[in-house]
Amino acid sequence: MSTPPLLDAHIVVERETFRLDLRIGIEKGEVVALLGPNGAGKTTALRALAGLRPLTAGHVTLDGRDLDRPDRRVWTPTEHRPIGVVFQDYLLFPHLSALDNVAFGPRRHGVRRHEARERAARWLDRVGLGDYTSRKPRHLSGGQAQRVALARALAVDPALLLLDEPLAALDARTRLDTRAELHRHLAEHPGATLLVTHDPLDALVLADRLIILEHGEIVQEGDAATITAQPRTDYVARLVGLNLYRGTADGHTVRVRDGFALTTADQLDGDAFVAFRPAAVALHPERPDGSPRNVWSATITGIQRHGDNLRIQLDGPIGVAADITPAAAAHLRLVPGQPVWVAVKATETRAYPATG
């Protein structure tokens, strides 16, 4: 920790009923995803970094320069910050062509008109839209508009690139292509990149590191592998598709509720999480015999399609989601309210410490 990261921010924003408090450091060339449910404060954080909303406390320091630091009365307005923003619905200026949209930034930074347009043309070429320079935004498809917005943000060589749900406005198919494309451009971007999203797939594909934000606070931070393997909140567990419980571990058992414990293959003591995949949950009409170490009776509360399988929500001593094949479903009467037996093998569970 000798040199501070390119972006070093402690964002504190207070509203009447909401407080956002998070620390973000992003290195040169690093892509960080800020992931969280709606209302977690993701967009507020992005707006604070962009200077579209002042901090209540804390600081935003980019490349060693304070952009916003209320306690020292330092404030740099948005237009003087070395940033680029890709907005959720792109906000391409409707009265300007794609080329002029991209040239807008360089022009405002004092580049001569001719030079700015040349630079814009190069950027449009880079995002594969060399033939669309004279199109107005309303004549561009969603994917094309997204790429113009990216080119527009990158054309000012920002030290910090901010992306607000960059793929949310696209349909599933375009999304796949655009995501791959975006990944390439973000990898080439020499500055820091912060990506705000509620889509875990975007975050996992595009980012080097994930920050999970809930209720204005960081609940988990790390690389994709760590977070998917060891979620620390219900939200993260749902994101990565795991059943997650917190309890007190004592050897191979984790007591998650009074009178209810899960047996695990891992062995540990103290405050712990237990996680298992919905596909590891087996349902039986009668109490099963044999190897599964965790068996309890539960009631079906909901049934949804989930890919090729069915996802069954169950209530009981603990709430649990189970993924079962249609073949397995045929053996059970799947109606909400139906009692069933739930079985989870100890070897299918994962236990890890909740502290530290």
């Binding site: 579209l52 948005t78 237009e79 907005f87 906000l91 009265h95 807008f104």
Partner: protein, 268 residues
Amino acid sequence: MTVATPRRVRGRIPLPLIVPAGLSLLFLVLPLAGLLIRAPWTTLPQRLTEPGVLTALRLSLQTATLATLLCVVLGVPLAWLLARIEFPGRRVVRALVTVPLVLPPVVGGVALLLVFGRRGILGSWLDSTFGITLPFTTTGVVLAEAFVAMPFLVIAVEGALRGADTRYEEAAATLGAGRWTTFTHVTLPLVAPGVAAGAVLCWARALGEFGATITFAGNFPGRTQTMPLAVYLALETDLQAAIVLSLILLAVSVTILASLRDKWIASP
């Protein structure tokens, strides 16, 4: 098999609504029809080319256009201020802007005289310092028209600004545009239809201005006698001439309305 006639699902239109509706339509259209019916169509070409008519028409078009320009130059910034900046007393300012809308134009004329008149608060200073006299001049006509027409522009543009997505302005700021550049390069182009609609309404109001003009600028042919004033004057001596002048104003108004219709009124 017979084809079923579409069934009436909502019942008849109630008489207490349809009768007054029809009457009001008649009331609005009949006077205009009267103007067309009584027009001296045979002598129309000669009358249109009479020097007095052309002079008044030219003066009207010139002053209305100048007044509109004045309103745009001063009114658009005011509208921007009202729409974008939170300042104490904003509601009061907005109310004040609309006063000329409901104020009898004659009162406006009197008020203008008290301020810009030769012995008015500002007028006497303008007169003694710069030798500028405003009342009873063509400039006075422009001033009177602008006073009455300005609210139309401000209200239309403020509405357009409020309807415009301010996030485009934020996007401009992230690209390095300051407030003024954002205004000229992003905000104005976005609300251009609103400004145009406001300007046209403003121009039409200025063209028809009578009360404030005659009070503040008087009624001198060639200098301050605009079309509405000429109509009023002609009415006392030559009814036919008054009809012809009115027809011209009607034609201009209808043209404006037609040009406004789908373009701006429907989607400001």
